[in-house]
């Protein structure tokens, strides 16, 4: 898998550059996943803010800091990770099944025999599209998270829009947004590499493809969480 990553990474800089495949894949990543991601992250944000308000009130009888906390949590962690985990199952499984079935129907061999490098043709466009797509979706997820948090805190917790923003101001830094995008990019890189690895090593039969997809979702999710930990740890030193 490490060698697949290195080859893909180097392949990014090698021609031919496949714009058409890249945009096809970007469309697949971004467009088809947008609705489900917006839906899920919004609810995750609502739960976060309601829960933290409830506990703050319980413990220190004061929830004035909740919007700030929630905003930090959303920007630093929630939006990026929920997006990435959803994409891991959505596009990770898709890629693994696609490449896996190409492997068992000998289409990968056919590509090689026609002088087409499967990494260049299949993996690199997916790799780039997944990075770009996950970054974009993370930004969108952040926006929707904050919007739903604002809405809920207005409706149920009694914070006005201005209160929310000023509370947020105290906690949130501009770096948070950048870091969130970096996280998105790294998560986006994990998914296609894991998926391609299991796809290329897919065993014969429908069962083989099933294994490849399951393994991809499991390992990509674990990978994302580990990468998340490493990145959060690194960023905490930069603040």
């Amino acid at each position: 898998m490490i060698s697949l990553f290195t080859e893909t990474f180097l392949g990014v800089f090698r021609p031919p550059f496949r714009k058409k495949e890249f945009f096809q894949q970007l469309h697949f990543v971004a467009n088809t996943s947008l609705a489900i991601i917006v839906f899920c992250v919004s609810f995750a944000a609502i739960v976060t803010i309601l829960e933290s308000s409830f506990h703050m009130k319980l413990v220190i009888q004061n929830d004035s800091m909740v919007p700030g906390f929630a905003a930090v949590l959303i920007l630093r962690e929630l939006a990026a990770i929920v997006t990435a985990l959803l994409l891991a199952s959505r596009i990770g499984a898709g890629y693994a099944a696609e490449i896996g079935s190409m492997q068992i129907t000998e289409q990968i061999d056919a590509l090689k025999m026609l002088g087409i490098d499967p990494i260049n043709y299949l993996v690199v466009p997916r790799f780039l599209a997944s990075i770009a797509g996950t970054m974009m979706l993370t930004v969108i997820a952040n926006v929707f998270c904050l919007l739903s948090a604002i809405l809920v805190s207005q409706l149920y917790l009694g914070f006005t829009f201005g209160m929310f923003i000023s509370s947020m101001h105290r906690f949130v830094h501009f770096q948070d947004i950048i870091f969130s995008m970096i996280k998105g990019a790294c998560f986006g890189a994990v998914i296609p590499i894991v998926a391609s690895y299991f796809g290329f090593n897919c065993k014969q039969g429908a069962e083989g493809v099933g294994h490849a997809t399951t393994n991809t979702v499991v390992l990509a999710s674990i990978g994302i969480i580990v990468v998340d930990f490493i990145l959060s740890y690194t960023f905490s030193h930069i603040y």
Partner: protein, 251 residues
Amino acid sequence: MSIMSLQNVKVCFESQVILKSINLEIKRGEAFVIIGPSGQGKTTLLKTLSGLVTPQNGKVFIEQKEWLTLSFKEQLPVLRKMGILFQKNALFDSFTCIENIAFPLQELGTLTEREIEKKAEYFLDAVGMAHARDLFPDEISGGMQKRLGIARALALDPEIIFYDDPTAGLDPITAKKIIDLIIFLKNQQDSTIVAVTNDMNRAYQLADRIGMVIDGGLLMTGTPEETRNHPDLRVQQFIHGNLTGPLNAMT
């Protein structure tokens, strides 16, 4: 002069030995037909010759180059001289028939769109598939898929063509048409051919030399005449399709 050769080649899949110590030379311009019972490694041998399967042991030479030491970039010019029809066709299922043929031509990057289209149409027509131009592979019959596979294999004007079981699963008339097409193409282009088939009549018709794979080894190689008269009982049983004989013990 040999165009491909295997030296002491051993191929395993997960501790299961498929080919053990194969030595084989294919001469330029020759038609070599691989026969043998199912599951004995014919496809594996064909894929090893084409450089797709990496053996655990031994050396593969293609065009005098030691294949396994080359990078993909170094392999590229040789790969473009080879065409292959896979046993399961391996058509690109997200492309239409014409796109399947046009795709490798586009990848060459040396032809204009117009030239590519003309060439793809020419090959589609040559295998009698012009009417299926814009259909997808899963919308056409098995015989048509085979023919499309052949057209794609021929698209790059290969000097070496591999056919893995070109008549499997086809009715006798379609099968004959396909073999006639293969022989016609061979006479026309004097390319080197490696084919797998179990249809003995077609094998005799096509082959300059026949090799029989049994139990991971090449039991014999020889002309069709030598094959017919081979003293080994297993060869005799196989080519006559007898139900009783020494081969039963193995499968």
